[in-house]
Symmetry: C2
Subunit: 108 residues, 2 copies
């Protein structure tokens, strides 16, 4: 199987970047506004968060809903395709719960 065809590499390319997985973690707990995502992701800049959300929207993973209020309310949630990422998030969570301490004990 060529590199292009490798399903692991395709997935890593799609989910690339720390913030992407943490945005998904937040959205798996429910619909969020931009400001809620921003406060949940300590250290993310508004520019980076907007960019990552726009890419996830283009990828069909995140859905952006605008409510015509004054000021307009904008909410982000997972699409059905986004929901299929749940086993990856759960594998990360389980490994982190069970094993990450062993790594952190070595690297501080």
């Amino acid at each position: 199987m060529g590199v292009k065809g490798c399903p692991i590499e395709r997935t890593v390319n799609i989910l690339e970047g720390k913030w992407t997985l943490l945005i998904l973690r937040e959205l798996f707990t429910g619909t969020k506004r931009f400001g809620e995502l921003r406060s949940a992701l300590t250290g993310v800049s508004p520019k980076t968060l907007s960019e990552r959300l726009r890419i996830l929207e283009q990828q069909g993973i995140v859905k952006r809903t605008i409510y015509p209020e004054v000021p307009p309310r904008v909410e982000y949630s997972l699409t059905e395709l986004g929901e299929t990422l749940s086993p990856i998030i759960e594998a990360l969570r389980q490994w982190g719960t069970e094993w990450a301490d062993q790594v952190l004990a070595r690297t501080g």
Copy 2:
């Protein structure tokens, strides 16, 4: 639970960077020499590959074995802790096999 305590964030921090997960993918198929990793990971520079391997070694995920031959043979393999990452690699593989095409159809 604070952000520091979030097991997903800890795992994402540990595995951060595209090459890390692809190095692990290679090592899950067996022990590899540096040159074998380099040719399997199209586009990685030797400097980046060395750095990522050194970090993985410090983290206790990868084991480096030097055989005193002339020239010395250096091999990389997973430690027992490294083997525990298998569910994450498998979740990435399964999602990539089943769903990545839907994303790639949108983003080209």
